[in-house]
Amino acid sequence: MKSLIKILVIAVVLVAVSCKKDTAPNYQFMPNMYESAGYETYGEAAFPNGVEAQVPAEGSIPRGFVPFDIENSTAGYELAKATLKSPLDSTQVDLERGKEIYNIYCGICHGNKGKGQGNLVKREKILGIPSYDDAGRAINEGSIYHTIYYGKNAMGSYANQLNEEERWQVVSYVLKLKADLEK
C-alpha cells in the first residue's frame, strides 16, 4: 500500500514535469497586457487579405523617394547602361558602408572580392556567377543599379532589402571591386 502511494506520487511529479511542452507558448498572468489591441507586426488583421503587412496605396511615394522610371526589360537594361549615372558625388560615397552592405547581400554569391566565388558558389549550390570584370557583360554603374533594382536572369531584385542610397553605395563598391579585379 505504502509503496503504491510512493509510486503514484513519483508518477504525478513526472507527469507534471513532462507536461511543459516547448511547442506551445507559456501561460501569461494578464494576457490583455501582453497582447495588444492594435495589430502586431506581420500579424493577422481584418483586411481583405487578412494580413497586417499591407502594400502602400497605389501611387503613394515615401518622403525623399525618387521613382525609378527605367523599365524591367533588356531594353531598359541597355538604357540604364547608357544613361544612368550615380547621384552620389565623391564626398557621399562611403566605401566602408558599401562594403558592409555588399558583404551581407551580394558577397554570399558574388564573393567578397567580386570574382563570383561566394560561399554558395564554392559549395556548388548556385553556379555560374560571373566575375565583375567579365568582358562580355562590361558592367557599369547604370547597369549595376538596374540589376540590383530589378534582378537579372537567376538573380532576384534587391530593391526591397536596400534603399536607394544603399543601392548606390553598393554600386560604388562594386565598381571599386571591378577596378581592383581589372588591375
Binding site: A24, P25, N26, Y34, L120, L127, G128, P130, G136, A154
Partner: protein
C-alpha cells in the same frame, strides 16, 4: 531472338558508321573537346542561366549540339557565333536565333567574347556527356543511418541490459530470501519478530518540536517552488513551435553562411527584425530547387525537397516553366520572440547603432535545426545586459560632450548603456 539482336547490331553499326562519317566530314576545328575542362567552364560561365537537364533562365543544354543539328540543321559554327555574340546573330535576322529569343521573353544571352573556339568545344563536349544515371543513393544514406542509429541503439542496449540485470538481481534476492525463510521454518528456527516498541515514525509524530520544524521547512520549500513557478509564467524561454515550412537556420546561416541580415534586412533599419517576404527566399531558391547537403534519418533529402516545394507553392513559382503563376499564399509563420505590448524594443538601435551581434540575444541560431527562443526576454535580462555593456564613445562627434560630462559624473572612462540612461523607465515603457 538472336535474329533481332543481329538486326539491332547491324543498325548500330550503320549508325556508328554514319557518326564517323559525319565526324570526319566536319571541319577540322570541330574536334572533340575535353569534358572535364568543359565542366569548369560551364559552371563558371553558363550555369547562371542554364542547367543540363532543366529549363532555367535559358533552355536545358544536354546534347544541345546534337539536338540543334537534328532539329534545326545548325552546326557548330552557328553555336560559336551565338555564344560569342548572341545579339549579333539575332540582329543578322537568323530565323532560329530570333525564335529562341522570343521564346525566352526577350532575355538576351550575355555575349562571351572571351571564350575561344576551343573553350566552346570543351563546353559542348561536357554537354554531350551521357546523363549520369543517378547512382543508387541508398548506399550512402543507409550507411549514414546505420552508423547514426547504431550509436543510439548501442546506448539503448546498454541501458536495457542494465535494467534487465537489475531486475534479475532483485528477483534473485527475493528468491534467496524466500528459500532461506522456508529453510528456517522447516528446521523450526524462530525468526526474530519485530519488537513491539512504538515505531520510529509514530515517535516522530508525537514529538511536537520535530513536527514544527518539519512544518516550517515544508512551508518554506513549497513557497520556494511556488515562487519559482509563478516567476516563469509569461516567460517563453525554450519555446519551439512547429513552423508551417521547416526552415532550418542551421543549413542557411550555419552551413551556407548566409548573413542574418540578408533575410532579416529590416533589423538594420527598423523596429522589427522582419520576416523575409518570399521573394527574398526566391533570390536563391530560383536556382536551388533541391537539397544536396547532409541528411539524417529524421530530415531526409525528400523531406527538405518537399519543404522547398512548399515554398514554391506559397510563392506561386512554377519550377518546370520557371515563372510565377501569380497565385501566391502567405505563409503563416508562428511568431517565437514576442515582447509584451507594454515594452518597447527597437532592433535597429541594437543592431546598427550598438552593433550587438544577433547571437547575443538569439543564441546560436546558426546551429538550430528548429528555431527556439534562447533568451528569457525578461526585464531583468534586459537590464542586466544594459548594466554590463559598454557603449562605443569613440568617433561619435555628436555625443562627445555628453559622453565627457557623464564620464565625469560617474568617474569612469567607459560608460555603460545603463549610465547613458538605459535603465530609465520611460525608455522602454511609455
Amino acid at each position: 531472338m538472336r535474329k533481332v539482336i543481329h538486326r539491332k547490331l547491324s543498325k548500330n553499326f550503320l549508325r556508328l558508321g554514319l557518326v564517323f562519317l559525319l565526324a570526319f566530314t566536319n571541319t577540322l576545328s570541330a574536334q572533340e573537346g575535353d569534358p572535364a575542362k568543359g565542366k569548369s567552364l560551364f559552371n563558371a560561365n553558363c550555369a547562371a542561366c542554364h542547367k543540363l537537364d532543366k529549363k532555367m533562365t535559358g533552355p536545358a543544354l544536354r546534347n544541345v549540339e546534337a539536338r540543334l543539328a537534328e532539329e534545326e540543321g545548325l552546326d557548330r559554327e552557328w553555336l560559336y557565333a551565338w555564344i560569342k555574340n548572341s545579339a549579333g546573330v539575332i540582329k543578322s535576322g537568323d530565323a532560329y536565333a530570333n525564335k529562341i529569343y522570343k521564346e525566352y521573353g526577350g532575355a538576351a544571352m550575355t555575349a562571351f567574347p572571351q571564350l575561344s573556339n576551343e573553350d566552346i568545344d570543351n563546353i559542348l563536349a561536357y554537354t554531350a556527356e551521357e546523363k549520369k544515371v543517378a547512382p543508387p543513393t541508398p548506399p550512402n544514406p543507409d550507411g549514414g543511418t546505420d552508423t547514426a542509429t547504431s550509436g543510439g541503439i548501442s546506448n539503448e542496449i546498454i541501458l536495457g541490459a542494465l535494467a534487465i540485470l537489475f531486475i534479475l538481481l532483485a528477483a534473485g534476492l527475493y528468491l534467496v530470501n524466500k528459500t532461506l525463510r522456508r529453510f528456517a521454518s522447516a528446521q523450526g528456527i524462530d525468526l526474530p519478530e519485530s519488537s513491539s516498541r512504538t515505531p520510529l515514525w509514530k515517535a516522530f509524530i508525537q514529538n511536537q518540536f520535530l513536527m514544527l520544524v518539519v512544518a516550517i521547512f515544508f512551508l518554506l520549500s513549497s513557497a520556494y517552488f511556488v515562487y519559482g513557478y509563478l516567476s516563469q509564467i509569461g516567460v517563453d524561454q525554450g519555446y519551439q513551435p512547429v513552423q508551417p515550412i521547416h526552415f532550418s537556420h542551421k543549413i542557411h546561416a550555419g552551413d551556407n553562411g548566409v548573413d542574418c541580415k540578408y533575410c532579416h534586412s529590416s533589423a538594420r533599419v527598423s523596429k522589427t527584425s522582419g520576416i523575409p517576404s518570399l521573394n527574398v527566399c526566391m533570390n536563391c531558391h530560383k536556382s536551388i530547387y533541391e537539397y544536396t547537403g547532409e541528411t539524417s534519418p529524421e530530415y531526409s533529402k525528400e523531406f527538405y525537397d518537399g519543404e522547398i516545394k512548399k515554398l514554391y507553392a506559397a510563392a506561386g513559382w512554377d519550377d518546370a516553366e520557371q515563372k510565377y503563376t501569380g497565385e501566391s499564399s502567405p505563409v503563416k509563420w508562428v511568431r517565437i520572440h514576442n515582447l509584451p505590448d507594454f515594452a518597447y524594443f527597437n532592433h535597429s538601435q541594437h543592431v546598427t547603432v550598438a552593433g550587438v551581434e544577433c547571437q547575443t540575444c538569439h543564441g546560436p541560431v546558426e546551429e538550430m535545426e528548429v528555431m527556439y527562443q534562447h533568451a528569457p526576454l525578461t526585464m531583468g535580462w534586459c537590464i542586466n545586459c544594459h548594466r554590463e555593456t559598454n557603449i562605443d564613445v569613440k568617433d561619435n562627434a555628436y555625443y562627445t560632450k555628453i559622453h565627457e560630462e557623464l564620464s565625469k559624473k560617474y568617474g569612469v572612462d567607459e560608460l555603460t548603456a545603463a549610465q547613458m540612461g538605459g535603465l530609465e523607465c520611460g525608455k522602454c515603457h511609455y
